[in-house]
Every structure is written in C-alpha cells, then in structure tokens.
C-alpha cells in the first residue's frame, strides 16, 4: 500500500522541494491543492485507461421502470464495464450496450414494451442515467461492474486506491503536469519524458491484465 503522503514525498524529492509529505511547497512554484488535484486527475486517468480495478454493485430494478440514476451507486463512476439484469430467482441476463437507433432497428415499439431487458444505453439528459430496454416486466436486480475511483487522495495519509506497484507511474503523471506549468519550473523535455513513463505504466497494466 502506498499513501498519498508517501507519493507526495517522492514527488518533492524529484523536484527539489523540501520533502514534507506534501504539506507545503517551499519554492511556491506549485501550491498543495494544485498538486493534489494533479494527483487525483492522474489516478482517475490511470483507472479509466486500464480498468485495473472494478467495483461490483447492484441496484434494485422496478417493474416498467426504464431509467436508473447512476449517482445512487456508492463510488464516483468513471465508466460501466458490464451490466446484467438478474430476475427474481437470480437468473442473469447480460445487457448489451447500444444506442437508441439500434433499439429502433432491432426491437419494435421498444419504448412501450416491457419484458426481459436485453440492452442499455447511457442517457445524457438527465445526466448519469442509464436506460434499460425493454423495461423489466418483473422486479429484479441490476448488477454493475464499473470503473471508479473509490477514494480521493489528499495529503493526509489516504491509501492510493491502486495496487502499490503502479504508484510510481502515478508519480510520473503528476510530474508531467507539474513540469508543464508556465513559470520557472516549465520544462517540456522532462515533462514529455514523464508523460512517456506514465504511458509505460498504462501499458504494463494492460499487459498484466491480458498477459504477455
């Protein structure tokens, strides 16, 4: 496990700041909130690009209800990986991710039909909502596997929500952002190098997920 303080300490060594677990940046080139924001952005980006960790959660599905609010899921959702509908006895039906046009082509009167859900689409209005098609004729459960960042980093000793071995690559991502900043620290060659190392982490995670 790596904590945000350990990671910020490593960052401070790399940019010749006083290593104090991210409590302050004495050169005043960066401020603490800014670096923490870079850190959280990079964690989200890493999780989003690699799908390295998934969250499993369920929502009850109601008869004839089409729209489900994803904000009710526990964690800050980045993307859906798998959605299934389980009937009242637990038999599962994987829902295909589709758009409304494909529903028009494949299912007549899908908007007014109910039955066993076969697909879902992401609805943009209201935001963070999915529509299941057709709406369930019986009560059941929606079963989600999704990418999410479960905890936000700070400088208070929070564990980075990633396998510890990938934390050095988050550091490289943050350094890339820090060195891009206009001002005395602006250093595009080193920033590009850091970006390359962050990309290396993403590739290694993908290799680990699928195997060599």
């Amino acid at each position: 496990m790596t904590t945000d303080q350990q990671l910020l300490n490593e960052l401070q060594f790399s940019v010749i700041e006083e290593p104090n677990q991210g409590q302050s940046f004495s050169t005043e080139i960066w401020d603490v909130d800014e670096v923490i924001s870079y850190l959280n952005d990079r964690i989200k980006r890493f999780v989003s690009e690699t799908r390295i960790t998934l969250v499993h959660e369920t929502l009850p599905s109601m008869v004839d209800q089409k729209l489900y609010d994803l904000n009710t899921l526990d964690d800050d959702l980045i993307d859906l990986h798998r959605v299934a509908w389980l009937d009242s006895v637990g038999v599962s039906y994987e829902l295909q991710r589709r758009d409304k046009m494909s529903f028009d082509l494949l299912t007549q009167n899908w908007a007014d039909t109910s039955g066993i859900p076969k697909g879902y689409s992401i609805v943009t209005e209201p935001q963070m909502t999915i529509q299941i098609v057709p709406a369930a004729a019986d009560a059941g459960t929606l079963d989600f596997l999704y990418t999410a960042v479960t905890t936000l980093a700070s400088n208070t000793g929070v564990t980075i929500p990633l396998p510890a071995d990938f934390c050095p690559y988050i550091k490289w991502g943050v350094l890339a952002d820090m060195l891009k900043k206009d001002g005395p620290a602006h250093d595009m060659p080193r920033s590009a190098y850091c970006e390359m190392r962050f990309g290396e982490g993403v590739e290694l995670a993908k290799i680990l997920l699928r195997g060599f």
Binding site: F13, I52, T53, G90, V91, Y93, L208
Partner: protein, 231 residues
C-alpha cells in the same frame, strides 16, 4: 545464475556509491529510488510469485483478492484446481449463469487485476480458495530487510536508481542517464523474454524507429498484380 542475500542497507550503500556519495542525495532518497526500481522490475519480469488463501462466502460470485496479489494466474478450491474461463464466455456461452444453483465451484475467471469470480458459487461458504499469481513487490523498509537477487539484477536496479537520481538534476546529466534506463530495460528483457517481444521494449531499444526508417518489404496486392501482369 547465482543469487545472494542482499540487505536494504547494502543496497543503499551500493546506490550511494554509484551516485558518488555526494551530498545532493540522502540515504532515504536512495531507499525510495530502490523501492521504485524493484516495483518496475517486478511489473516487467513478474519476479515474485506466491499464493494467498481467501475464504469463500456462500452464494458469492465476485471476490476481492488480497492486496498482496498483483495478478491471479491460478485458483484452487479446497486444493482442487479450477478451470479458467472468462466473464464474456460465461455471458455468451451460458446465459443466466449467475442464477445457476450454488454448488462446488468448477471454474474461475478474472474480473480485474485484484478481483476474480467463481462459477458456480460455493453453496456452503467457509471453504478455501487458494489464489496463486504474481505478488506485489516486497517493500524494503528496515536496514536488515533483504532480498535474494543475482549480481546482474543488483546492477540493473542500480542503473535504474542512477537514472532516477539524475532526474532532479535535469539537463545533460539526465539526458545521459537515459542510457542507464535502457540498460535496466535490457536486463529486464533478459529476465523475461516475453517482455523483449513487446512494443514497449522495442521503443526503449529504438527498434521501432529502425522499423519505421527501414520498413520490411511485404508482398502485398500490388506486387501480386505486377507479377500477374508480367505472366
């Protein structure tokens, strides 16, 4: 290849020596660089293997594997190996699989790096799943913490430490140290030949640029047409 017990204190001393013992670096800093070197080494070579046991829960499909396993490669249920499948195969090949009656698990499937699923679910719970795979990198904290490493591996780690240390200097020193990063990657490619086949490795070695500048000739439709026309 011969391996030897190397303590954290010894590794840090070797690292400091490699950096010329200048006041620009502290021992703590070198310790951090060493731990990063070990992590990158393990991610590339999958050096540390082992297993952990997790108890089953009645009717539970998805399990979070212990934080000490980085990639699951094999799963046993009460000492009986489970067959590997995938979530997609189950969804496509056995619709409704999540509703199958609980019984004795026969298959396992990866969900994410640290999550797996079993099928069918365990009926009783309290049984044992032995999860085997690549372990997370051991972190060196105390001076007496040690690892079994070959001399060439120690050299590769020191190359990486040297490269990391020059990052904060920037400029020509850092640019020159890219060669030591390349040496580290070469050693990792020797340890894991499969890594040496990846695009990532080829990029480090400059082999992708070589292919770009001197593309291999491959007979395509155009060459077929030419030969057909000449006949």
């Amino acid at each position: 290849m011969a391996y030897q017990k190397v303590t954290f204190a010894e590794l840090k001393l070797l690292g400091m020596n490699r950096l010329g013992n200048v006041a620009f670096y502290t021992e703590d800093e070198v310790g951090i660089y060493l731990n990063e070197a070990l992590r990158v080494w393990n991610l590339i070579t999958w050096q540390w293997h082992g297993s952990v046991f997790i108890p089953t829960v009645a009717s539970q499909t998805f399990y979070d594997v212990s934080a000490s396993v980085l990639k699951t490669m094999r799963v046993e249920y009460n000492n009986v190996p489970l067959d590997l499948t995938s979530l997609q195969s189950l969804d496509l090949g056995q619709p409704g699989w999540q509703g199958t009656a609980a019984g004795t698990p026969k298959r396992w499937f990866p969900v994410a790096l640290t999550q797996i699923g079993i099928y069918p679910t365990d009926a009783i719970g309290g049984n044992s799943l032995r999860v085997e795979g690549v372990l997370t990198t051991p972190v060196l904290v105390n001076e007496s913490d040690y690892l079994d490493l070959g001399q060439w591996q120690v050299q590769a780690l020191l190359d990486y430490v040297h490269h990391l240390a020059t990052f904060k200097q920037g400029g020509e020193e850092f640019k020159a140290s890219l060669q030591t990063l390349k040496s580290f990657m070469t050693a990792a490619g020797v340890q894991n030949r499969k890594f040496a086949e990846t695009a990532l490795y080829k990029r480090y070695m400059g082999m992708d640029l070589d292919e770009l500048l001197r593309p291999m000739y491959r007979g395509g439709p155009q060459s077929d047409n030419r030969s057909a026309a000449s006949e």
